[in-house]
Symmetry: C2
Subunit: 481 residues, 2 copies
């Protein structure tokens, strides 16, 4: 119940905000409780409906409450939701990957359908587009006949490159020449081509900490060395730290995810993106921008990749349909104007071209509007899954647990009590039929020992709930031991 | 007309052979003429039908005549069909690829549908399996629903790995563990993974001369150096030369095509395979065996890959559906027992996994028997195309032209008169609407200037005939100039 303070003041808007915050802090309003409707609050507080709306929106911005479509505003789960900012130490020198064997063990479990899949990041499975996609593929097969059996152009089928270019224009107003796009075997091959295009064996590459484990494995396979740059939940890549790293090491390329990075889920604010671009432009260091989660913000806002900021930095942007449509299609792409020829040549020498049927199917899927409809349907499901999983973590994990609050994507990044080993938890969870990812695979240098990544990108069911509860209980036990 | 010698002798069988040879040599029987039927010859020569058959088969073995199913025996085109054996010089030292810019120009034309496609080696297009394949894919889509949208296991879908293993057993009696197979994005990614698994940047890799240009480009992209080993039309890789090269250079791997190599079309005889295996086993050098044409001998005989000879050599065999079923599917594989873990890890870090729908479709295509039926239908068409193109070359190219006589595959390798530049011919042909491949892209060291490769792997039509005639005329003009 709300206790309404009837005093009026100059800023009615401010009054509504204070009122709600006070009630949340006192515990009168609990996480999950619905705020009074706009009309009701207007009546209670004696302010206009638009003013209440304005106040609620401000509260949402402050992450105190959240709106649910056609339902109203709710008090958010007040999780211990700040991942600790990395402490200002000196990053370790680049060295060989220390988590190879652990990574192997993680992968062993990742494709096991018997396990509760909290390990693999596969957002599309939260709401698969199977029907419309399979329909589009059958149309493609019927229409194209034997042409789809043959080679597509090395850098990809023109209809798909055109659709991707058009989508950039449609969502971002960015003008992309279809000839500057190269279709790849998923985002992973995009990263491979990009890295090969800008480095030589032995070079040092800067990565986020924590970063997607597939980047670390790739860097290792290419005989490159990774150096960590601290990433924080507010800004993403910490540009101050980046400068320090660039001063200390001869970095030949950076691989950063600017939107919804994996596993932290942070999106770099525009001013940080610009600062990042300027730092790299100034030093002539190319940026490989991993943008495979760019479409998956819950609010549907599409942040502008550094590629399109026009700050004079050499950017290769990697996109993919694996996180948005179908990982099994193995279709991603690379956008680069300055490096296109080299990337095209590498694509040809590494795998000739990508699967033709999928390229034409995706071109059809995009041009028919099914792609946009699918994304619009997927985002709220992911959001709901995120809320459910966050609430379960808040409820069942020990008090010291900290958890990321991603604005999109499909993963949570958890900092467990210091004494709990993510690797032990991984082993125990596997034995209990649950796959999770231990934090140590997200860095080359062996830290994040007490971190784990949990995926909410799958169909939510009782198994998921039980698994998260089990994990929470088990972490409490490990912490107490 | 045959002039029959009525003298009888001890060896009626020999008599029939002499009779036919004599008539061919005198010009009475011309290339393409049909021999008398078994019954008719039996009557004319006064020998039994089985004896005549035995004689005809011996003539076929001697490549004097050829049998055509349900039609009879025909006089073969007596081409100047010996590619000159490489002269016994010392192979050049390994160095950077000298034909990069020429290769770029070749690729520009390769996917241009306006050109007569004598450049690209795409045998399946001679008789596409579109109907049965598209049917299999639609079945897969209907049956598997949303599962096919997700990731397959990194090293490939088990049903396909099982079918491939079974096919090895079925055709060769070879026992292959499906777990030692890794599905790749076509044979090209198979070569990539194999090379990465056994080399470090800067290493020297031995290749055939001439060899498939895609291998050279790949070696260059991986910062490796290629060294030539002479290949001849009788034995394939000349093992004597190989020994010399291995004595001179610290070779870390060999990439050889043992069956129907590209572009020479030679299949290594069994004894040479064994010798090759022993040399490499003795020195502990791994062999990357490019076996993508293994199924495409016109006679349907499947030579045994070195992989299955059990001679103690470390072999990684690369197979593919690109030359047999559908290059647009981008599905190939690698077989390796000793290197499997490393190859699997590289596959994951380079492209995660391969397209799922295609893997299940091909598993269906194989298990239904469609694969074998398709190959049985494809081989005679390729054979017929080969004969037609060889006959046109014999008829329209200058007398000094030498041409390979492949026993399968989809390409002819032509040695033009010394004064004719394959590169000039390539340029002129392009201007005339014909794509061909100049010989220089088949070696890292800049030789084969007066060689070209012509593909007969497409639907034969008047355009093809006219193109080969035009090429012959133009070569004559260039030779005379």
């Amino acid at each position: 119940m709300l206790h309404l303070d009837k005093n009026s003041g100059d800023y009615l808007y401010r009054q509504v905000i204070d009122l709600v915050v006070e009630n949340i802090e006192s515990g009168t309003l609990e996480p999950g409780d619905r705020l009074p409707s706009l009309r009701r609050m207007s009546k209670h507080a004696g302010v206009s409906v638009p003013t209440v709306r304005q106040a609620y929106v401000e509260l949402e911005r402050q992450r105190k409450v959240e709106s649910r479509p056609k339902s109203g505003f709710y008090v958010r789960n007040q999780l211990r939701n700040d991942i600790v900012r990395p402490s200002p130490g000196v990053a370790p020198d680049p060295g060989p990957l220390q988590c190879r064997s652990l990574m192997e063990r993680v992968y062993e479990g990742i494709y096991n359908p018997e396990l509760v899949p909290l390990g693999v990041a596969n957002p599309t499975m939260a709401r698969p587009a199977a029907k419309s996609l399979n329909r589009a593929m059958k149309r493609t097969l019927s229409g194209a006949d034997e042409a789809v059996l043959s080679y597509a152009a090395s850098h990809g089928a023109l209809p798909l490159r055109r659709q991707i270019a058009w989508h950039y224009f449609d969502t971002l107003g960015a003008r992309v020449d279809p000839e500057s796009i190269c279709i790849t075997n998923g985002g992973q091959e995009g990263l491979l081509l990009a890295l090969k295009a800008v480095t030589r064996p032995g070079d040092i590459v800067a990565v986020e900490s924590p970063t997607y484990h597939g980047i670390l494995e790739l860097i290792d396979s290419l005989d490159l060395l990774a150096v960590d740059v601290s990433t924080c939940p507010e800004e993403g890549v910490m540009t101050g730290r980046l400068t320090e790293v660039l001063d200390r090491h001869e970095v030949k390329a950076c691989v950063f995810s600017t939107t919804l990075n994996n596993p932290l889920g942070v999106t770099m604010p525009d001013e940080d993106r610009r600062r990042l671009a300027d730092i790299l432009a100034d030093r002539g260091i190319p940026l490989i921008e991993d943008d495979v989660y760019g479409e998956l913000r819950f609010d549907g806002v599409r942040p502008v990749p550094v590629q399109f900021l026009d700050r004079g930095v050499d950017v290769i942007t990697v996109g993919s349909f694996s996180k948005t449509v179908a990982p099994g299609y193995r279709i991603g792409w690379v956008v680069s104007s300055s490096r296109h020829d080299e990337i095209h040549r590498l694509k040809r020498s590494f795998s000739i071209t990508s699967a033709f049927v999928q390229q034409l199917t995706l071109a059809d899927f995009m041009s028919s509007g099914d792609y946009t409809r699918h994304l619009n349907g997927l985002r709220p499901v992911l959001k709901r899954n995120c809320e459910r999983m966050s609430a379960l973590v808040a409820q069942h994990f020990p008090a010291e647990t900290r958890v990321s609050q991603p604005a999109g994507g499909s993963v949570l990044w958890l900092e467990l009590p210091k004494s709990v080993s993510g690797e032990c938890l991984f082993d125990d969870a596997l034995a209990a039929g649950i796959s999770i990812n231990p934090g140590r695979i997200y860095t080359p240098c062996g830290c994040y020992e007490n971190f784990i990544r949990l995926s909410f990108g799958h169909r939510w069911d009782q198994r998921t709930e039980d698994a998260v509860k089990w994990l929470g209980r088990h972490v409490s036990e490990l912490a107490a031991a």
